[in-house]
């Protein structure tokens, strides 16, 4: 065997790693530790991703997010194992894999990443993201004994009528009573407004970071956003979220200033729709990065972009959380995606048909046709799941995206 005499410089990766990813890891590790302590102290709530978390935060409880835990399960590639535990209990394989993996982890925490989410004292669900959350949280309630409180935000068609606002607001008033009784603490409106201010600050920093991706090259790729959204989901309303997003936005601005893209050579700009396949998130996006494909925008991480206006606290929260575009039906989603394509100057789009998630995925066939008709850019649908890797066919996904790239390049 001949010995090499010269050392070649290490080959540059196709994508650039964010240096704030270390801070992200530290922030989320501290958060995970705080959920464990909170559970021991009787102050942990589980919340859905679209829940008005400012309220439980104002009650000094700590929020854990089972959907985020599902993302960890997916990334750790143990989705099939945990979903399997839920299936052993009789939960159908056809149910959302976030739900199944969280149910599985409650059943067998010792075999779950991070030994599962700590047991909550209350389960807080808001159906502005989907109807699944109710069945899921009620099932977990049967297992843990923690009571469920549902903030019911019926889907909107068009503007929010007064009776809708009044109904959601009355649900929030019920939540206040529920929190006061469950955690034996009076409601403090001023505190809620302060938490809402913190939440707004973090959301603004996050939104500015997302909007920076209109630049060419885009400073962030899809995986960057999906991983960095963790604090906006889990720590909205806290100083930790602001600290993280200040640093994060700083790095994004720096990249823009220096003309540094998330990937080395940006050739094609695409829109991503839906949750990512967590078990292959790096592989999927980095493989495409090597082909010069970046995803400057997606329909999912833009969901946390609304500000709670100063005013009567509960009414403002009722407005913001009812009107998130996920709660407004297919045409709002299509409008949003067409706008993203236009504003971010995208060349095409990839719709991930997530078998778990009927709310976001059903309608994608129509979406594909309408978006192409309206924007003139081509798109493709790939199939799979975000957690359950058994539902994903990598080769098929690759072939379909390649076919899309052929149309664009």
């Amino acid at each position: 065997m001949s010995q090499k005499t010269t050392t070649e410089p290490p080959k540059e990766k196709a994508y650039r790693k964010l240096y704030t990813s270390k801070l992200l890891r530290e922030t989320m590790t501290l958060h995970i530790l705080s959920t464990k302590t909170a559970s021991q102290n009787g102050r942990l709530v589980w919340v859905t991703s679209g829940f008005p978390v400012e309220i439980p935060v104002a009650f000094d409880t700590v929020a854990a997010y089972p959907e985020q835990y599902g993302a960890i399960v997916g990334s750790e590639k143990c989705g099939p194992l945990l979903c399997g535990f839920a299936e052993e209990l009789g939960f159908s394989q056809e149910l959302c894999s976030y739900a199944r993996s969280s149910i599985g982890s409650v059943k067998k925490p010792e075999q779950s990443p991070l030994t599962g989410l700590p047991i909550p004292q209350a389960l807080l669900a808001c159906n502005n993201i989907c109807g699944t959350v109710l069945g899921w949280y009620e099932a977990v309630s049967e297992m843990t004994g923690a009571p469920v409180y549902l903030v019911d935000t019926p889907p909107l068609e068009g503007d929010q009528p007064p009776h809708h606002l009044a109904y959601v607001k009355s649900n929030l008033e019920g939540l206040i009573t529920f929190m006061s009784e469950t955690f034996n603490q009076p409601y403090d409106e001023e505190k809620l407004l302060q938490v809402a201010d913190l939440s707004n600050t973090a959301v603004n920093l996050w939104t500015k970071s997302l909007e920076a991706c209109k630049n060419k090259p885009s400073p962030l790729n899809c995986a960057d956003r999906f991983l960095s959204m963790a604090p906006i989901v889990a720590l909205r309303g806290t100083q930790q979220a602001i600290d993280f997003y200040q640093a994060f936005y700083g790095e994004v601005k720096e990249r823009v200033k220096q003309g540094l893209g998330a990937i080395r050579e940006e050739r094609v700009r695409l829109l991503w729709d839906n949750i990512p396949p967590w078990f292959t998130i790096y592989n999927f996006f980095n493989t495409l990065a090597k082909k010069g494909v970046v995803f400057p925008a997606d329909s999912y991480t833009h969901a946390w972009s609304a500000n709670i206006p100063r005013g009567e606290a509960l009414e403002s929260i009722a407005q913001v959380y009812s009107k998130i575009w996920l709660n407004k039906g297919l045409s709002a989603k299509i409008d949003k995606m067409c706008n993203l394509i236009k504003d971010y100057e995208l060349d095409g789009f990839v719709l991930f048909s997530v078998r778990s998630c009927k709310r976001y995925s059903l309608g994608q066939m129509v979406t594909k046709e309408v978006i192409t008709r309206r924007t003139g850019v081509p798109g493709v649908i790939i199939e799979g799941d975000m957690v359950d890797s058994q539902q994903y066919n990598e080769a098929q996904a690759e072939t379909r995206v390649d076919a899309l790239l052929e149309m664009i390049l």
Partner: protein, 407 residues
């Protein structure tokens, strides 16, 4: 030995029945959600008809919906795509019930531009605030009907319709209560047919048939002095309770309960009767079903004629037995437990549409209760086309065989 039941007959009867109520003036509105307020349509001179799944229609959805859309929604879409639905002036989708239907309505609008697609959104909660919300939704929906069809809300038509549905429900409730005591008094498939007839073509003709059966059942119960017991049970069920039975229920064979969501009772009846024949346990009886298109709509309380119609309709919808799409799993589980305790149940059939999240989340807890109460269970994942019919019938057959051994 009785002849096997055929689902083909069921479907063709539905179509024929619909023809009998259609005149050139009839504006037929198809609906999907079991608690759709029929009275509101009648008040606007419209005729509501429940859109049943059709086991003979499949495919034709693939270019618009993924396979993980629930089986029922897929089937409805296929019927429309193949132009097999009755001729409708409009179709009313529910909002706020389940993710499949929420999307189905949107996709329908996008695909069938020529259809008039209505949407009435329901709350998931079941409290006073939910009633207030639904009251205004109904008021808005009524205004929308007026604009769309140019027909004003008629209080007289509304009152007539309230009387129609109340009389139908009272008669059907009595049959349900009577069957719990004496299931052989009126076979389940016949009961399921009565329900189907009324919801397909609600009117004096189908009401009369239900009332006729109720009166025959009453006559028979009188002979056995069971009327007070059946009435007490009916009132209890209307309040979501099961009182102590004041007479011993008939026990010629295994007593079975069926639970599920938007499952077609006649579909279950066909599967059940045929599997019974194959397993040679003809005496097994479905004594009660807790299905959306049967028990939950039959025990829907009547609207009060005194107050604001929209408020009264909302009140009656919210007070109806809760759907799996609504809050209240602990109450539903408790109700099932009481059924096991008080109605002398031997077996439980759990029917679920494939990819129906609301049903599928509840089933594991139902199984646990059944196990605790030593009630034998069988789980039937169904699609309306019965694509897996042989396996389903096989499962039912072994369920019956185990039940026979147990007894």
């Amino acid at each position: 030995m009785s002849a096997p039941l055929s689902y083909d007959t069921v479907v063709s009867e539905r179509r024929q029945l619909l023809q009998t109520i259609i005149t050139p003036e009839t504006s037929l509105v198809g609906y999907i959600y079991p608690h759709t307020p029929l009275e509101l349509f009648f008040a606007h001179h419209l005729t509501p008809t429940l859109l049943w799944a059709d086991h003979k229609t499949s495919g034709a959805y693939e270019a618009s919906l993924q396979t993980f859309c629930c089986a029922y929604s897929r089937n409805l879409f296929s019927q429309r795509a193949k132009e097999q639905l009755p001729k409708l002036s409009a179709i009313a989708f529910p909002g706020g019930t389940c993710d499949s239907l929420q999307n189905l309505g949107d996709v329908w609008r996008a695909r069938f531009h020529e259809d008039t697609v209505l949407r009435l959104t329901y709350p998931v909660a079941r409290d006073e605030a939910a009633i207030t919300y639904l009251t205004e939704e109904l008021r808005g929906f009524s205004n929308h009907l007026e604009v769309t069809f140019g027909s004003k809300f008629s209080i007289d038509k509304y009152r007539e319709a309230v009387a129609l549905t109340a009389e139908f429900r009272a008669a059907a409730q009595f049959i349900v209560a009577a069957r719990i005591f004496q299931p052989s008094i009126y076979p389940y498939p016949e009961y399921a047919k009565l329900i189907r007839q009324f919801f397909t073509a609600p009117g004096p003709h189908t009401l009369q048939q239900v009332e006729q059966v109720a009166s025959e059942v009453q006559h028979e119960l009188r002979t056995n002095q069971l009327i007070p017991s059946a009435e007490a049970l009916r009132y209890g069920l209307l309040k979501g309770q099961i009182p102590e039975l004041t007479a011993t229920p008939e026990r010629k064979g295994p007593r079975i309960v069926v639970v599920g969501g938007m499952i077609d009772p006649e579909g279950i009846a066909v599967l059940f009767e045929n599997a019974k024949i194959n397993a040679e346990v003809e005496e097994a009886q479905i004594v009660l079903d807790i299905l959306s298109f049967s028990f939950r709509t039959v025990f829907h309380p009547p609207s009060n004629l005194q107050g604001d119609p929209f408020h009264e309709l909302a009140q009656s919808i919210i007070s109806a037995p809760a759907e799996p799409t609504q809050e209240g799993l602990p109450d539903r589980l408790h109700f099932l437990e009481v059924i096991f305790d008080k109605l002398k149940i031997d077996g439980l059939i759990i029917a679920e549409h494939s990819f129906c999240d609301p049903d599928q989340f509840e089933i594991p807890d139902m199984l646990k209760i059944a196990e605790k109460k030593k009630v034998l269970t069988v789980r039937l994942p169904l699609d309306p086309e019965f694509s897996d019919r042989a396996r389903i019938e096989g499962r039912l057959q072994s369920f019956f065989e185990t039940l026979s051994v147990k007894r």
